[in-house]
């Protein structure tokens, strides 16, 4: 069975979705990802969907779910590399994925996570000091 690899880069996890998603695969991904966030105490999750040509409401909901789960586990989710045609389709479908942060590519996504981690560290430092 297909499995979606989860790579660790520093304090973040990188998930690259390259195959067609279906229920079973989404469940497995959610299981593994939440387990990895806890195990690696990851602070951020990057989901790269640059090789997906078709995104439907199902994947939209799955992305929202993952973002929600990660937030509960204190990790921020950034969806990166959405294709223009996919973005147009999602907007036409009325799915603007509220609550999900987005970035153009993995680099930008990483910067975004790094920045929010730093600002969090700064506020935490102020509170402690």
């Amino acid at each position: 069975m297909d499995r979606i690899p989860i790579l660790r880069i520093g304090p973040f996890l990188l998930v690259t979705i390259q195959v067609d998603m279906h229920d079973q695969l989404a469940m497995v991904l959610q299981d593994e990802l939440t387990a990895r966030i806890v195990r690696d105490s990851a602070r951020g999750v990057l989901i790269d969907i640059s090789s997906l040509d078709i995104v439907d409401s199902f994947i939209g909901r799955m992305l929202s779910n993952i973002a929600g789960m990660a937030r509960v586990l204190d990790a921020e989710t950034v969806v990166v590399g959405m294709q223009p045609s996919v973005a147009i389709t999602l907007v036409e479908l009325g799915l603007s994925l509220p609550g999900i942060r987005t970035a153009l590519n993995v680099d930008r996504g990483m910067e975004l996570l790094q920045k929010s981690l730093e600002s969090e560290g700064a506020t935490a430092g102020e509170q402690n000091g």
Binding site: A87, I88, L90
Partner: protein, 282 residues
């Protein structure tokens, strides 16, 4: 089947018919005559008369779609297309065929001075035939004009959606003209593809050149902004004129969540600040 002797009459009086007809046309065209040379007009007329005679001698006038009429149809279609491009009005184009009536009827009267019944019958056949040919020219004329309009629309579509890079990572999209669904689609696509190509994460959509903003246009703008956001880029809408600001509020369009600025300079300043860039005097 109605058999007509029109072909014989045309053959018999061909040269005088032709010269009469060309005179009538020249007179009818008047000042518009400058657009076409006398020799071209004469050639056109000659071709038409030849083809008409040929078709009449081989086929009945009942069905103009029959293969026997193909030659004449081609001549008329070419003529209409040429004249549409040369800027003739539809009336002037159709006059080419209709003016043939008066020349032809004159010859008919000469051919049947005593036979009123045949004259009436032939006149009716001729007028029916020429009317249909005239309508055919108008149809082709209309069609070629529509082709011109469609081509111009496409050209405008291509011309009107440039995406320019103001700074590395900052794109601007100056919109000019009314936004409809088809154009928004092209605009959106161009902008999103440019965002990827230049790996820019800020885009300024300037609507100074958009004459009116109604709910539909606002909807299109919001869609573009959301699509850009999904790809991880931020959009600023600039160039909102006072009138348009009033319209947007009266229409109850919700632009919350979209950054709007009154002019492009303000939007650019904001974009630079977002990238932590400062412009200073040298």
């Amino acid at each position: 089947m109605r058999k007509t002797r029109l072909a014989d009459i045309i053959e018999k009086y061909e040269s005088s018919l032709l010269s009469d007809w060309v005179d009538i046309q020249t007179k009818a065209l008047g000042r518009a005559g400058g657009r076409i040379t006398d020799s071209a007009l004469r050639d056109n007329s000659h071709d038409f008369v030849q083809a008409l005679r040929l078709s009449l001698s081989t086929a009945s006038t009942d069905d103009l779609q029959a293969p026997a009429w193909a030659g004449l149809r081609d001549i008329l279609a070419n003529l209409s297309r040429q004249r549409a491009v040369m800027g003739f009005s539809p009336a002037e184009t159709a006059t080419f065929v209709f003016s043939f009536k008066s020349a032809l009827f004159k010859r008919l009267r000469e051919a049947y001075p005593d036979d009123a019944e045949t004259l009436a019958e032939e006149t009716w056949l001729a007028t029916d035939l020429l009317d249909r040919l005239g309508l055919f020219t108008t149809e082709v004329y209309q069609k070629s004009r529509e082709d011109v309009i469609i081509r111009q629309q496409q050209e405008m579509l291509e011309l009107s959606t440039p995406v320019v890079e103001l700074w590395p990572g900052i794109l601007a999209l100056p919109l000019i003209g009314t936004l409809d669904s088809a154009r928004t689609q092209v605009v959106m696509q161009n902008l999103l593809e440019a965002l990827v190509a230049k790996s820019a994460d800020l885009a300024i959509v300037d609507i100074t050149g958009v004459p009116t903003v109604d709910t539909l246009v606002a909807q299109h703008l919001l869609k573009t902004v959301s699509a850009a956001r999904l790809m991880g880029a931020e959009c600023i809408i600039s160039g909102i004129r006072p009138q348009i600001a009033q319209t947007i509020i009266h229409l109850g369009v919700d632009l919350a969540g979209v950054i709007t600025k009154a002019n492009l300079a303000d939007a650019f300043r904001l974009a630079l600040r977002k990238k932590s860039l400062v412009v200073t005097k040298a």
